[in-house]
């Protein structure tokens, strides 16, 4: 896979290049800030760009850089790496794009297998979210009667958590040891309970389900 990365910490940048190359990926650009990355990829887009969130242009250069990259190259995957996994940034990332995006903790992509799996799922169009964040968001809902997620069953909440991690129906079925049909039924019920009807595509509704959920956790519903 062809990749590029922007990260202002020299040590981490070197470590990431080392690991990407060990995994057999071609690193076409390796820079210290967002503006340099946009310039480097202007005429030479890659499969996935890896971005630190907290880098120049300060304070959250990764996000503004990603917006520019998505506008210029809509097919390019975006993987955000951060020292923190926070729902605030997840919502901002999903506002930039709901396909081919990922948000993971820096130290959790520290193996060739995990890094390559993350990159290929993003390149395939999935949303890849740090599992600890998806888990924290879904399993500890606020004790709020208005909370939309309170209307979901335990099993539906499991399915939504895996959806929030960007899993496909097949992946969710495998994880929960149930049939693909059962997963479809749970998802239809989640869409129904979250009020996601109409002619939006299934993919679009999946993303909206995750966003609705995240927003409810942030008290914005």
């Amino acid at each position: 896979m062809r990749v590029a990365l922007a990260e202002d910490g020299a040590l981490f940048r070197q470590g990431l290049v080392m690991l990407l190359e060990a995994a057999g990926h071609e690193v076409v650009a390796c820079v210290a800030g967002g503006d340099e990355l946009v310039a480097a990829l202007a005429n030479d887009p890659v499969d996935v760009a890896l971005l630190d969130i907290r880098m120049p242009p300060e304070p959250d250069g990764g996000l503004v850089t990603a917006e520019r990259l998505r506008a210029a190259h809509p097919d390019m995957g975006l993987l955000f790496l951060s020292h923190y996994a926070e729902s605030h940034y997840l919502v901002r990332i999903l506002e930039i794009g709901t396909e081919k995006v990922g948000y993971r903790l820096k130290e959790k992509v520290g193996s060739v297998e995990v890094l390559s799996d993350t990159l290929s799922r993003i390149a395939d169009g999935e949303i890849v979210i740090e599992p600890v964040l998806a888990k924290r968001l879904v399993e500890r809902p606020r004790n709020d009667r208005k909370d939309v997620v309170a209307r979901l069953s335990d099993r539906e909440r499991d399915v939504l958590r895996l959806m929030a991690e960007g899993r496909s129906n097949g992946g969710i079925a495998g994880e929960l040891y149930v049939s693909g049909k059962a997963v479809e039924k749970h998802i239809a019920s989640i869409f129904d309970k979250l009020g996601l009807h109409g002619d939006a595509s299934v993919h679009h509704r999946r993303v909206l389900a995750v966003l609705t959920y995240l927003r409810s956790q942030r008290g914005e519903n």
Partner: protein, 192 residues
């Protein structure tokens, strides 16, 4: 300059120093340790599998992840980075979500200096930790007149009045005040 305003200036300076310390942790130790995770991953690729070396590398990676988790907890107690980057609303929502606390938040305050945002945030951390029941927190900015500074006003409904002194510990050094009425604490944090 009066003693009181000199104290406030020094206190504000201490908050700025906390902010710098968090930044130093993030850009220094945390980044250095994260890059070790990646280097270990590259080593793991070259290690003969399966063997003792591979198991050692896995164990070291777990240690690295645990060290980073501890650093994040420390950094959050010094000055949460999200508070500085996005303000009181996002930082408090993240806190409430992470703790699964039963708190209704209504934050309309403008961005304020690091000292005021830090003091409000940590005053509420104390209340959250010590309040078993549900809380309703409202935070707004009261615009000052030409001669007076803006004030961030925090109303905590459902808080036990015994928490008032710990809120005053945060508001007082900035020249703020705390009032207790039945069932709620109102704190005022003046901006510089």
């Amino acid at each position: 300059m009066s003693d009181a305003s000199d104290d406030r200036r020094r206190h504000r300076e201490r908050w700025r120093r906390r902010l710098c310390l968090e930044r130093q942790l993030h850009d220094g130790a945390a980044l250095r340790i994260s890059s070790m995770a990646l280097r270990l991953g590259a080593l793991d690729r070259d290690a003969p599998a399966p063997g003792a070396l591979r198991r050692d590398i896995d164990a070291l990676q777990d240690e690295v992840a645990a060290a980073l988790e501890e650093l994040r907890a420390v950094a959050g107690q010094i000055y949460p980075p999200l508070l500085h980057e996005a303000g009181l609303g996002p930082a408090l929502r993240e806190l409430v979500t992470a703790r699964g606390a039963d708190v209704a938040l209504d934050v309309t305050a403008d961005r304020a200096e690091p000292a005021v945002e830090g003091a409000v945030y940590f005053a509420l951390v104390d209340c959250l930790e010590s309040s078993p029941g549900p809380l309703a927190v409202r935070i707004r900015t009261e615009d000052g007149s030409a001669s007076e500074e803006d004030v961030v006003v925090v109303v905590i409904e459902g808080a036990d009045p015994v928490l008032a002194p710990s809120v005053l510990d945060e508001a007082g050094p900035l020249g703020g005040t705390v009032d207790v009425t039945s069932g709620s604490i109102t704190a005022r944090f003046p901006c510089a």
